[in-house]
């Protein structure tokens, strides 16, 4: 069983869902920015990015190395860490696919939101195991308010 917990404010959950609704029936994607501490990880901001897969955007997404470098730069400018990535699964479960697993690294958090008929449904988060054999689910802990005054300045 996973011990990973990802804290995320409700407002940011809504922004991910809204992005998935907006791009439906195509997949949306973006970067998760926040802070990673010993046993505690919190998403404090997002960087929505364009899905570069125009050949199969209903069931694939891709971000280029330049997108990744932009996300790293944006995180640094905000004094945050690039914690991972989010994407939507239009009309499919919020479960990582084999394709997701093959294209992942450990440590990153991967949030998936299922969007059915244009409506956001389940949201899950995952981390790849060290040996790449499978994903472990990461519990999403949603808070209505920001966790610290420091986070307000982000």
């Amino acid at each position: 069983m996973s011990e990973h917990v990802l804290k995320i404010r409700e407002e940011i959950v809504r922004r991910i869902e809204a992005h998935g609704e907006e791009t439906y029936p195509h997949e949306c994607c973006g970067a998760l920015l926040g802070r990673d501490g010993e046993g505690s990880r919190e998403v404090l901001d997002l960087l929505p990015l364009p899905n570069r897969r125009d050949d199969s955007p209903r069931n694939r997404f891709e971000l280029t190395p330049d997108d990744v470098r932009l996300a790293e730069k944006t995180a640094r400018a905000k004094h945050l860490d690039l914690l991972g990535w989010y994407h939507s699964h239009p009309d499919a479960p919020a479960r990582p696919s084999e394709f997701d697993r093959e294209h992942a690294w450990p440590w990153y958090s991967y949030i998936i939101v299922s969007v059915r008929q244009g409506e956001p449904r389940d949201m899950t988060s995952w981390r790849l195991r060290d040996d790449r054999s499978a994903y472990d689910s990461e519990s999403i802990e949603t808070a209505a308010a920001v966790s610290s005054p420091e986070a307000l300045r982000v």
């Binding site: 994607c29 280029t64 190395p65 394709f99």
Partner: protein, 97 residues
Amino acid sequence: MPVKVIIPTPLRGYAGKQESVDVQASTVGEALTSLTTRYEELKKHLYADDGRLRSFVNVYVNDEDIRYLQKDQTRLKEGDTVSIVPSIAGGASRAEK
């Protein structure tokens, strides 16, 4: 010659928690071999089972993608920086609907 390899955040745990590692190498291939010999755990996250770099793993010398240079035969000079940058890809499996 001495060159610096920048380790991306997700892989630092497999490289002694370092942001960068100094290696002696005259090509990109040598630099990556030296890195993954020293930190063997990195290998499976950079290379597929066939020994080739994973499709989403991109390598830059300074700011140039090695795919547009001489790939792993790209020559390095003293002080060059080799960066490993992933592309991020994924998506739903149609069969899982």
